[in-house]
């Protein structure tokens, strides 16, 4: 069957490629239109920019709010990713290696997070935060971003550690290692592939997250990039190239990560869904 060129094969390939193009074309369309002047855009929305201009980007950077938002998003994403990796590794190691009362319950507790309709928690979380008085701070979003990343991270890491032969831990203990050394000098480096996957997924989720940001943050100085884009999109609703430039800016880190680590990212999404 390999290499046989038949009419159905040609049709199927053509249809699939057409479909794949519709999935990437809109973003490409956004990117090249962000380089047009408003006039050029209204002339034709399809044409490639004949006279590319960075006017829209210059305008966004001059206003300046995007810098704060970018910095905030970077902070939320990096900090929550670090916390997720550390906390989930400790939990996953203990769950994978030791037998103790409550083990199954702890595991289910974290897996539950994969099934919960997260937006339903917006109002209850808001109420709790208001009661405690931790709305609108630099660290407000860090807690939910870390928490919601933990479920998937624990699930992926636990499965991975389980496949590492326990003899390695034992050899290290015989070699004189403490539990801490076994966990962080022996097993953690072996977990590097899954740590990379978890870190990438956590970064993407935290960078992209919008619902909790819009619910818990009012203060301009703590708004992450999706929140900035929403506000900006509202203000520049008619300046299409500027809006598109904003969309590009909000997506650049994500797209760069995807280009370099697409295999790991795809693997993480596929692995995370199975069993959930």
């Amino acid at each position: 069957m390999t290499g046989r060129i038949t009419l159905p094969a040609i049709l199927i390939n053509a249809a699939l490629i057409l479909f794949a193009l519709t999935t990437i074309f809109p973003m490409i369309w956004v990117i090249y239109n962000s380089l047009k002047s408003t006039a050029a855009f209204s002339e034709s929305i399809f044409a490639l920019p004949s006279d590319p201009t960075f006017r829209a980007y210059v305008q966004i950077f001059e206003v300046g709010t995007v810098w704060t938002a970018m910095w905030n998003s970077l902070f939320y994403a990096v900090a929550s990713t670090t916390l997720i990796v550390l906390l989930s590794y400790c939990i996953a190691y203990v769950l994978a290696r030791f037998e103790f009362p409550g083990r199954a319950a702890v595991f289910s507790f974290f897996i539950l997070g994969l099934l919960l309709p997260i937006p339903a928690l917006l109002v209850p979380v808001f109420m709790q935060y208001r009661t405690i008085g931790i709305l609108d701070t630099q660290f407000t979003l860090l807690i939910p971003y870390t928490a919601f990343g933990l479920s998937l991270a624990v699930f992926l890491m636990e499965g991975y550690i389980r496949k590492i032969p326990v003899e390695l831990d034992e050899a290290a203990h015989v070699d004189g290692a403490s539990l801490f050394t076994v966990m962080f000098v022996i097993v953690f480096p072996i977990c590097r592939p899954i740590v990379a996957t978890v870190a990438l997924l956590s970064f993407l989720h935290s960078w992209n997250e919008f619902a909790f940001a819009t619910t818990l943050i009012r203060d301009e100085s703590y708004k992450p990039i999706p929140l900035w884009l929403r506000t900006f999109g509202g203000q520049y609703a008619t300046d299409y190239p500027a809006l598109m430039a904003g969309m590009v800016l909000a997506s650049v880190p994500i797209i760069v990560l995807f280009i370099f680590f697409r295999e790991k990212i795809v693997e993480g999404f596929a692995g995370g869904a199975v069993k959930a």
Binding site: L16, P117, A120, V123, A147, F210, T214, G233, A273, V274
Partner: protein, 297 residues
């Protein structure tokens, strides 16, 4: 696994678990408990008064709630038909050696999954834009101008328009799930069927489909729980409008709380969504195990 000689004390074990449990429990568990607590009160001018189950009685008779829930089910149904099924078909085709560039297809189709919902929502605002939108302009360019619609402003079609956006963004997720399910199948069983004289269609129905039963269950569960998670896209694209026409339950809870300042009722809706979602997911898993997977594993 038997307790090993180097297992630390139970206290030490819990110390490793504690930070994660506190962070996670503080966002998942205590808000649910608090949310249920508040749902038993009535909010008047930011004051809470004990109300028992009155909010739940109100919810039962609240036509708007059922209408928004119906919107969720429209999305779920269309996802299962167009997203899950299409993803399955594409995955099977990609697995069949018929397709010339499977890596490119997978990467391209998966690409939107990683974009921020806010970004993709704006993409679709631009696609659906009445005058400058990609869709209406394309229709005009290919001579189908008569099919132009006010995609996001017509209450009759808006829910289908936003569903298109959701299907578009997340079909790649279902594709990679099916692909990873397919890669776990012993390829020799498919080749054996080929040798036995099965056509592509027969291989799919008799050999591949049954072996993917648990992957289907994952996909359906994901479509259901995903359909009840919808919030950000609609929030950004339409704000739930026009009127209530594209509002989903999560947004209904949100607007009850933050626009009507009725936090008790918002919490009531939130608790209802959680209960509903977990019930539906458990039922689906149960049904799959009972009727589909049972005899085959």
């Amino acid at each position: 696994m038997a307790p090993r000689a180097f297992q630390p004390s139970t206290i030490a074990i819990w110390l490793f678990l504690l930070p994660g449990i506190v962070v996670y429990g503080g966002v998942v568990l205590t808000p649910l408990i608090g949310g249920f607590y508040y749902s038993l009160f009535e909010t008047k001018n930011f004051q809470f008064h004990w109300a028992g189950l009155a909010n739940y009685v109100r919810l039962w008779g609240d036509g708007d709630f059922w209408f928004t829930l119906r919107n969720n089910f429209i999305i779920i149904l269309l996802s299962v038909i167009f997203q899950v099924t299409t993803a399955f078909i594409i995955a099977v085709l990609m697995n069949s050696r018929l397709v010339i560039a499977p890596k490119f297809l997978r990467t391209a189709i998966f690409f939107p999954v990683i974009l921020s919902p806010v970004v993709t929502s704006f993409v679709w605002i631009l696609v659906f834009d009445i005058n400058s939108g990609l869709l209406n302009n394309t229709l005009e360019a290919i001579g189908l101008g008569g099919l132009q619609q006010k995609w996001l402003d017509d209450p009759k079609i808006v829910i289908y328009s936003v569903t298109v956006a959701l299907v578009w963004q997340y079909i790649g997720l279902f594709l990679v799930i099916f692909l990873s399910g397919l890669s776990a199948i012993n390829q020799e069983t498919i080749e054996a069927a080929e040798v036995d004289g099965a056509s592509t269609f027969q291989k799919t129905i008799y050999v591949i489909f049954p072996q993917l039963a648990s992957t289907w269950s994952v996909a359906i569960v994901l479509a259901i729980s995903g359909g009840l998670k919808i919030f950000e896209h609609i929030f950004v694209m339409t704000g739930g409008g026009p009127g209530l026409s594209s509002t989903v339950v999560a947004q209904y809870a949100y607007s009850q709380s933050f626009l009507r300042a009725n936090f008790s009722y918002g919490n009531t809706i939130a608790i209802a969504i959680v209960v509903l979602s977990l019930t539906l997911v458990s039922l689906t898993i149960w049904a799959f195990n009972r009727f589909v997977v049972k005899d085959r594993i």
